[in-house]
Every structure is written in C-alpha cells, then in structure tokens.
C-alpha cells in the first residue's frame, strides 16, 4: 500500500494490562522477532557513527555500481558510495520522522480522546466533530500544501501527518475511557473520594497502554511509508541533505536498466521495517484483546471409518434412533474435559422423548452432537448413535463427516434452537430463507418454492404468512421468529426434530402456543421429537418419555407419568419439587442448593452427592451404575429403593 493513513481500530473494550499479557507477547514468536528487529534497527541508527562500515558520502567512482561483496556488503551506488552505510544513515531520517509524527499523534490523540471520553456531553460532541472533519480531509492534498508552505521540510509533513491521523487514536482512547468510566470499581473509587486526576493515572492510563501501543505501531508504519514516498518524490529530505531511504530508491530508479540490484536493499529494508511494525502491532493487539484462539479438536479415540453401523440383533421394531454410550469431550489447555459421559437412550418413530436437566448438565451438547454441530473444540470420543431412517441404510451419527451430515441435516433430522431471533440470517427476508431450504431438499422452481414457503409459514400458524414472508428477522417478535424457525426445520420433512429449549426465551403465553403447535405438528406429520428442556411443564405437555441428565450423565430414564408419580433418583425428585408449576400458593418454592458443577470438577462416585440429601458414605465409592427397574426404567442411584419408598 502506498500512502496508507489507515490504522485499524482496536476493540474498544480491552481488559487491564497485566504482567502475564506481556509474558504472552514475549512468547508470541513473530511479535518478539519484530520487536527485536525494531530495537536492533533503532540501536544501529542511534549509534550509526560506530556501526556504519564507511562514510556514507565517500565516493569511489572506480567501484561504482559494484554488487554485494566483501568490501561493500550490500554493494555501491552510482557514485561508488557504500550502500549499507547509506542505508544506516538514511534510517536516521526515518527514525526522526517517525518520532516526530508519533509524538504529535499520541499527544493529540490521547489528550483529546481521554477528554472526550471522560467529560462527555458537549466536549465529546465537539471533539468527535473535529475528528470526523480531520478524517474527511484529503490527506495527500494537505501534505502537498504544507510542502508548498515549507518546501522540503520533513518535520512539517510529519507534524501534519500526526494531526490528520490522530482521530484514529482519539476514537480508541475515547472508547476505552468511556468503558473504564462506566465500570464499577472506578465508580466506587470516585465515591470513595479518589480525585479525578488520580483515577486517570491509576485506572484509565494503564488500560490505554495496550491500545495506544497497537495504534502507535500501525501509525508508525504509515509514517515510515509516507516519509519514504515524499522523499522518493523529492518533496522532502532531498538528496543534498544526505541519504534517506526514499531518495536512495529514487536514485536506484534511475539505473534499473543497468543494475536492478541497487533498488533491492533499500526497498527490502523499507518493507521489513513496515512489516515489523505491523507484526508487532498485531501481536500487541492479540495479547491485549484477550483473543481466544480456537483450541484444537480432540482426536477421537477411534477412527471414523464405516458410515454404516452394524445392525443390532433385532428384537422389537428397531427404534428410529438409538444412542449408545455417547461420550463428548472438549479440548482445554489442561487436557481434554469430558462434558457428556456414556449417555444411552432411544427414540422410536413418532415418539417424543424429553431430555431434562439444569443448565450446564450437557443436554444441549447431546442434542447438537446428533447433528454434528458441536462447538469448536468438542468431539464425540466414544459411543454410537444409530439412526434408522424410513428409507436408506442405518447411519451412525457419531461417525459421519461433513459430507455425510449434508444428507442428514434438515432432511432427516432438523434442529430448532433456543434463541429464535439469532437463529435466522438477519440480512435476508424470511420468505427467501424458507424457500432456500425448501429448494435445497426438494428441487423446484424459485417461484414455486416461494409459494411453498408461504404455505409452510401458514402451517406453523402464522397469521398473514404473505406479510411475514416479506419481513426481515429483526421485524419479528420472539414467538413469530420461533414459528419461522420451526417452519425452517420442517422444510425438509424430517423424521426427527431436535428441539433445544424451544420455548425458554419466550413469554409464557407464547410458550403455550408454540408447545401446542409442536404437539399438533408431531401428530399430523408423524415426526419423532427430542425435546431438550429444563421445564417439567413443557416435558409433561408433549413428551412420552424423559431422560434426566445431571453433570453429563443420565441419572434416570422413564415414562413421563412414571417419573412424575414415582421419581427414583434424588435429583429427579429435587427437580420436581423445585418445579414452579407444582408450587403451592403462599409457600416458598423449594430449590436445590448449590449449582451443577462444571465439567472437570465432578466429584468421584455419584456426581449429585454434594447436593443430595440422601447422600451416604458409599455414594462416594466408585462409579454408580445405571440399574434397571420395572419396564424400561433405569436409575443411577444406589439408594433408589429408599428414595422411591418415600
């Protein structure tokens, strides 16, 4: 890029700089290399008198345009002057220019930015207006005009460059100041009588250090390029005042026909310097912005080979889906963390199975793994999920790759998510989005798909579906958006619908309508449903059976009515008691003390033990197995009989 006045904004909300960040910067390879290069270059420039191998102006016409060699490491120019020495002396011009420009940039940018962010009100408006104006000025015209006033004056151009670029830093400084000001600890400090000046020094400035460094290194790169360009054009730092990188390239330009080499060292040096400033700035940004690197996926414990799973010995009609020993791990800095362990359940065609548990129990992970949509870093490491569609071979969902899932998602298994609004593409009209999915699964013309889309919107009981089809997602209410999301899930006529907390984000009245819709659709379309929820009311409303999960494990599985009437696991029992639908007016709603432990902090033995009122010493010993009861009931509790007897 030629004269670039662009410095990309750093995210305005940057956490306080801590020592560990700088240690991380130290560890980032390229950032460290760039910093070292810049330091070495600065040192060599300052001590050029002692470092340079020769006098930069000493001519030796006999050795003109000599290539690199022992006498002249980087060769000589047209007058036989040593290129390396001239390069080092030329760096002085660059260094001084950068210092001048950066000084103006920082002083103006930080002062005005902090003032605007701190005072707010009219001061903020005035300063922001000034910044917008400065940004809108054509930079090169300003520089040329300044050069007309002060011919050949590098310092003047650098001051102007600093002024017209300052808005970049100003905006960042303003943003950081405003976010710091709003934070509780700063408000507390003010209330406790700490003066404004000390708040500035103690709280605001440390937070600014990182973003300033990012902006400064990017701006310094711009200054190096601008100075080089102006000097190349002969508008500043002319040849008569000694070597500069720009005028050295200009001289090399005159002899490219005879000797192309002469242009190489200076150009490379200029590029390297700009590159080092850019890399250093990026490294500082990554470190201060607490940039989260995606962790590598854990390697599955077994190879993903056969897409079709061996058929189980058939007893009764095989279920549509049988999940068997499903285990999900996430990679973490300290090694893989198991979030779901050995989960097994099955879903018959047309059946509705609820998966219930508190948030953090792993139920959403179970649901998403069935569609191969685990978040980055998560993977199924053991178990199988055999899916038997009406037509086609049996598929093990844990062994499918992206291609394999392409034939399953939307067409065989569909997903409805918790956040109806954020599940829709904000940039396209609702009708178009539905039509696209319809056409994906059933080939037809665009016009026909548009008609089908409206019909589908009618199916999910949206009033005036034609108008809804023309709307954008942000124009829909939560309930409408969830109906659209259900329509999108139905567009491929799936055999299994995975509904992940489909009503949690909705108002109570809308919840009932959506549940009613799901129940009706299930009956009419003969679709099986896996309903993930934490709400017993939702479960009782439409599910036949329920799987209760706690801390990544199945703790109980039974028909919904059995579960209500006769819970056998203490967790199920506690959950039921905490159910607001069963609350008695005038009495405190019972709650379960404590929270679900996060993965990796599960207690040995029974994972519910720390919160369980039936806990006994033997609950801590070893893994508690799932034990069967009458019918298809299973419970993971060694005192299940006693709990049931209560």
């Amino acid at each position: 890029m030629s004269i670039s006045l662009i410095a990309t904004d750093a995210p305005p909300s940057v956490r306080p700089a801590r020592r560990s960040r700088w240690r991380r910067l130290w560890r980032s390879g390229p950032g460290l290399a760039a910093g070292a290069f810049l330091l070495a270059l600065t040192a060599a420039t300052v001590c050029v008198r002692w470092v340079a191998p020769a006098d930069p102006e000493r001519q030796d016409l006999a050795a003109a345009l000599a290539g690199p060699g022992a006498a002249h490491w980087l060769g000589t120019d047209r007058l036989g002057r040593d290129v390396l020495s001239r390069l080092l002396y030329g760096a002085q011009v660059t260094l001084v220019s950068v210092v001048e420009a950066v000084a103006v940039f920082v002083v103006l940018g930080v002062t005005l930015g902090v003032t605007a962010g701190h005072l707010g009100g009219w001061a903020d408006r005035a300063i922001s207006w000034l910044a917008d104006l400065l940004l809108a000025l054509p930079g090169i015209v300003m520089l040329l005009m300044v050069l007309a006033v002060f011919p050949g004056n590098t310092a003047a151009t650098m001051v102007v460059l600093g002024v017209i670029s300052a808005p970049m830093l100003l905006r960042v400084a303003r943003g950081v100041t405003m976010s710091v000001k709003r934070e509780l600890y700063v408000r507390a400090a003010r209330l406790s009588g700490l003066g404004e000046a000390r708040i500035m020094v103690r709280h605001v400035l440390p937070r600014l250090a990182g973003p300033i460094l990012v902006q400064v290194s990017l701006f310094a790169a711009t200054a190096v390029l601008v100075q080089g360009a102006l000097s190349f054009l002969g508008l500043s730092a002319p040849e008569t005042e000694g070597p500069s990188w720009g005028n050295m390239i200009a001289q090399a330009a005159q002899v490219t026909g005879e000797d192309l080499w002469l242009a190489v060292p200076t150009g490379a040096m200029l590029t390297l310097t700009v590159l080092a400033l850019g890399v250093f700035g990026d490294a500082v940004r990554d470190v201060t912005a607490e940039h989260r690197e995606p962790v590598a996926r854990p390697r599955p414990a077994r190879p993903h080979t056969a897409p079709a799973a061996p058929e189980e010995p058939a007893e009764s009609p095989a279920p549509l889906l049988s999940v068997d020993g499903l285990t999900i791990e996430f990679s973490a800095p300290g090694g893989p963390v198991t979030v779901v362990r050995d989960v097994s359940f099955s879903v018959a065609a047309g059946e509705c199975v609820g998966v219930i548990g508190e948030s953090g129990s792993g139920k959403t992970m179970i649901a998403r793994s069935l569609l191969g949509l685990l978040p980055a870093g998560g993977a199924v490491t053991a178990g199988a999920a055999r899916f038997r569609p009406g037509a086609g071979p049996v598929l093990d969902l844990t062994r499918l790759d992206e291609r394999g899932f392409g034939r399953v998602r939307g067409r065989r298994i569909a997903l409805v998510s918790q956040e109806p609004g954020s599940g829709l593409d904000p940039a396209f009209r609702v009708g178009g989005q539905v039509a696209e999915v319809i056409r994906r699964h059933t080939p037809m013309s665009r016009r026909q798909a548009a008609r089908e889309a409206v019909e589908l919107l009618r199916t999910v009981r949206l009033t005036d579906p034609e108008r809804v089809a023309r709307r954008y997602p942000h124009e829909l209410s939560g309930g409408m958006a969830q109906r659209v999301a259900i329509a999108l899930a139905l567009a491929g006529k799936p055999e299994l619908l995975v509904a992940d907390e489909p009503t949690t984000a909705l108002d109570v009245t809308v919840q009932a309508e959506i549940l009613d819709l799901l129940r009706d659709l299930r009956r009419r379309l003969g679709m099986a449903v896996i309903l993930v929820t934490h709400d017993w009311g939702v479960l009782a409303d439409i599910c036949d059976r329920a799987v209760v999960v706690y801390a990544g494990e199945v703790v109980e599985q039974a028909g919904v009515e059995d579960l209500y009437a006769d819970p056998r696991h203490p967790y199920t029992r506690a959950l039921l008691e905490a159910n607001p639908h069963l609350a008695v007016a005038g009495q405190d709603l019972p709650t379960i003390a404590g929270t679900v432990p996060s993965p990796g902090r599960w207690s040995p033995g029974c994972r519910f033990r720390p919160r369980c009122r039936f806990a006994a010493d033997e609950c801590a010993a070893g893994t508690i197995p799932l034990t069967g009861g009458s019918g298809d009931r299973v419970t993971r509790c060694i005192r299940a009989e006693e709990v049931a007897a209560l």
Binding site: M1, S2, I3, S4, I6, T8, L133, A136, L137, P138, I140, V141, L144, M145, V146, L147, A148, V149, P151, L225, A229, F232, L233, L235, I249, A252, A253, T256, A263, G267, L270, T271, L272, V274, L275, G278, D282, P294, L373, E402, R407, V408, R409, G410, A414, L415, S417, S422, G423, L424, D425, P426, A427, F428, V437, R440, H474, L488, A489, A491
Partner: protein, 316 residues
C-alpha cells in the same frame, strides 16, 4: 429520509468550505507567490514594479478573504477559476485529469474487492498453517512500498518482458484495449497492498460472522457450504468490509499521486504536485475541491451500500 438527505447535504457543504478555505490559507502562508514563480521562470530577476503589476494582473494583490469570496462567487456560477499560468479554466483541467486518475483508482478498488474478498473468505475458513501463510502474505503486501514495487514491476513487465506499456494513458473511448493495457501496471502495483488490506478485513469480519448462531442453524438445515459462506455469511460480513473499501478508495487518491508520477499517468495527482510547486492557487484549490467531492460521493455510496446490506439500517 428527507432529514437524512438534508443532513448529508449540510455536512458535505461544510466539508467543502473547510477544505477550500484551508487551501487558500495554507497557500497564502507559503513563502513567495505565483508572481515570483512566473517572473523568476521568465527572467530570473525583476523589479518591485514588475512584481506589483504581475500581482495585480493575476488578481492576487487583494486580501485573502476577498479572493476567497470571489472564488466562492465564481463557484456559484459553476466555475473553479483559471490556471494562473496558462489561463485555462480549472474546471476543464480537473475534468480532463479526473478520468485517468479514476480509471486507476476504480480499477484497483474492483480488483482488490474481488481478490481480497476471495482470499479473506479462504483465510477465515482455514486455520492453521494455510491461514498463517495467508496472514504473512497479507502483511507483506501491506508493507511493500508501492513506489518501490512500481519500479520492479516496470522493470520486469515493461522493460525485460515487454508485455505491457510502462505508462501513459489512452482514452477508453478511442481504444478500449489500449486503455486496459495502459492502466494494467498501475492497477497491479496499487492492488498488492489493497488486496492484502481487503483480505485482512474480510477475514476478521468473516471469522466473527461464522461464529454466530445463525451460521450453525444454516448448517443444521442442511444448506451447502457454498451457500452458507458466499451467500449468507459474506453478506453479513460485508458490512464492515464496505466501510473499509470506502477508506481504501480515499487512500488510493493519495497513493495515485505517487503512482501517477512513476507511470506517467496524466491524472489529478500529478497535477497537484506541479501546482503545489508553482503556488498555482486556483489549480490547487480546484484539485482539493475535486478530491473532496470524490470523497463525499464515495462516502455516500458506502452509506447506500449499508442500507442495501443491512436491513436494520434501512428501517432506521
């Protein structure tokens, strides 16, 4: 809607005032004036009487604010004044030189938008070594000074290989192929950095969009990757990228000043450099005026693109 248009008009006019007034003030601060430029180029030495007469002839003996007032009066009648030396109307000069400059700049913006977007999407998808390689290439592209790259490109493609002309400009109306060949090398040179710049912005923006919930839901509905990436994610990621394209355009106005000299493109940038040397106030102000108008138009286009890309802005 009407209010938005009025606000846009008001800020545009204010900006034009500031830029042109600033150029008047700055040029008047410069040591020497157009009269000294003319006289010293003619004979070298001159008497104070000659100097005073030349100033009067040029109309630069009046106070600055009077001259600015006259200039505004002329602007109202659609004139940008006359070149102090040649007497040619500035509007004509600027008009002649605008097309060569815009050819190079628009060409570069188009090339970088297409190539940069493609690279950026590729980079957002691939993490690991391939992504890091893309990063490194982007950074190198941003760091290479265009005037140095121009030298190498001319030497390679124009001198050694003789594939393309080393510069000049051909009127596209007369010879479209010749026009393309003439702007090819300047566009190539300016694109190196611009592509890298657009690629970096696209990559960051795409990575942010790809981590959003609606992308997971598009996958859950079985849409093909091509549609998810290039239709849905890119459309959402394009909003910040469009701002950056606007900034890029404005920056290329500056870049063109350098590149036009090297490739001898008879554009506005070259005109600005010559006029600055000769204190040719009407031409300098004319160029500044023209640059500012281009900037205002580009910003307007960016705003319109926003409305098209982001339905929420459209509603507001």
């Amino acid at each position: 809607m009407l209010r938005a248009v009025l606000r846009w008009l008001a800020s545009s006019v204010a900006l034009l005032f500031v830029v042109t007034a600033l150029s008047f003030v700055l040029v008047s601060l410069a040591p020497g004036d157009a009269a000294t430029s003319i006289l010293s180029s003619q004979s070298g030495s001159y008497t104070p009487e000659q100097y005073a007469r030349t100033r009067e002839l040029l109309g630069i003996d009046e106070p600055l604010y009077v001259r600015y007032w006259h200039w505004l009066g002329e602007l109202f009648h659609g004139s940008l004044g006359r070149d102090l030396f040649s007497g040619q109307p500035v509007a004509e000069i600027v008009g002649d030189r605008l097309l060569p400059s815009l050819s190079v700049i628009v060409g570069t913006v188009l090339v970088s938008a297409v190539a940069g977007t493609w690279l950026g999407v590729a980079g957002a998808r691939r993490r690991g070594p391939a992504g890091r390689l893309l990063d490194a290439v982007s950074l190198a592209g941003l760091a290479v000074p265009s005037f140095w790259l121009a030298l190498l490109v001319v030497e390679l493609f124009a001198v050694r290989l003789a594939w393309l002309p080393s510069g000049g400009y051909v009127d596209p109306g007369r010879d479209p192929a010749g026009w393309l060949r003439a702007i090819a090398l300047p566009v190539l040179t300016l694109s190196a950095g611009s592509i890298a710049f657009v690629a970096k912005q696209t990559r960051d923006s795409m990575a942010a969009v790809l981590s959003q919930e609606f992308v997971t839901m598009l996958r859950a509905r079985g849409l093909p990757l091509r549609s998810i990436l290039y239709k849905h994610a890119l459309r959402n990621a394009a909003i910040p990228v469009v701002t950056m394209l606007g900034l890029l355009f404005v920056n290329l106005l500056s870049g063109a000043v350098l590149i036009e000299g090297i490739f001898s493109v008879p554009g506005l940038g070259q005109q600005a450099v010559t006029a600055t040397g000769g204190h040719n106030l009407p031409v300098i102000t004319g160029v500044a005026f023209c640059f500012t108008v281009v900037v205002i138009i580009v910003n307007l286009l960016v705003d319109l693109a926003y409305r098209w890309l982001d339905p929420k802005v459209r509603a507001a």
